[in-house]
Symmetry: C2
């Protein structure tokens, strides 16, 4: 299982945003939508062995489960609609009890710390960050939980929490990439057995 | 200069499509928009040394020039708006004479074959396709022109034309990827000097 946890700092926690303005009024929700795309899509196929956690403004987490996803499409707008649909049912998510809002999509009323705790059980936390060691030199674990930030850097509190939890910090190249591009490169690294044989 | 030529088979050639339905009514224009994103964006930066040619239904080509791009944003909707804006001025593109419709964005009234011909001058054509040799084994040229197809495979005619023009056919992994993910991996391969040192 490959897991990706992406922190969205400015995204909405209420479903009142417009799908016509996800890159503006919805606090760069487009960034998170592209991360979902990068995490799950193969050409005419879905990566079933993937789980994605989108942390929304440290208040909610939307979890996408590859094995049971049914209504995911590659475009940003329809993914934003799934997230909005999840937020519409936020009153039903109580404590750590999630609500499944679409096949394979669940809303949790938990923020970054609780999501990281729950997701990292049985997994090894890998921080994807431009200060890390090069991906080609990193030996990635079998059950990785990759943690990324959106268009903002991690906050000090997130960084502290991650320093405690993460076994390693890895960067995917000499250039700073968008979060979704980082996910694509990471998948490719794992698919190819470390960019070696395939 | 890294160039990417992406063939859009079903996309509109008139500007009457809705920005609310680019993944449906606009013939999967979302695929091409994501390719533009993958080709140009770094975190808080643009790759200036990149040129992208989007072939629209073998009738028009929209060219994006990294060095002079000014109004490009990462989200699909705003890129689709730039393409629609280009098509709004299609009457002004005559023969091989383009019209610049936004800083760094030009519309040409030429299809795949003429675009390939013009773009490949001084460049080496590399077909990105799942039947190719692995990227890690390929020695990529200094001035590559990568040619990809959208969510459809190349047509027989395109394939024939490419077999004549392409010096090599390369695949980026053991799994079939979306066109935009392929661009991301290719950039990373070149950025890292063949996934080696960085």
């Amino acid at each position: 299982m490959r897991q990706f946890l992406v922190i969205g700092h400015d995204v909405p926690t209420e479903p009142s945003f417009s799908l016509d303005d996800i890159a503006g009024g919805a606090g760069r929700l487009d960034v998170l939508c592209r991360c979902v795309n990068a995490a799950f899509f193969l050409s005419h196929d879905i990566r079933e062995n993937v789980r994605v956690h989108l942390v929304l403004a440290d208040e909610y987490t939307v979890r996408f489960e590859g094995a049971s996803l049914r209504r995911l499409n590659p475009d940003e707008r329809s993914t934003a609609a799934l997230i909005r649909e999840a937020l519409e049912q936020r009153e039903e998510a109580i404590g750590h009890q999630p609500v499944e809002t679409s096949p394979g999509v669940s809303l949790y009323r938990i923020g970054f710390e609780a999501t990281l705790s729950a997701a990292s059980r049985g997994s090894t936390v890998v921080q994807l960050h431009e200060d890390g060691e090069p991906l080609v030199d990193a030996e990635l674990p079998d059950e990785p939980l990759f943690v990324l930030s959106d268009h903002h850097d991690f906050t000090d509190a997130e960084r502290e929490r991650l320093d405690d939890a993460a076994d390693r910090r890895v960067r995917v190249g000499p250039k700073r990439l968008h979060a979704d591009h980082t996910i694509t490169v990471t998948h490719n690294y794992l698919d190819t057995g470390g960019f070696t044989t395939y």
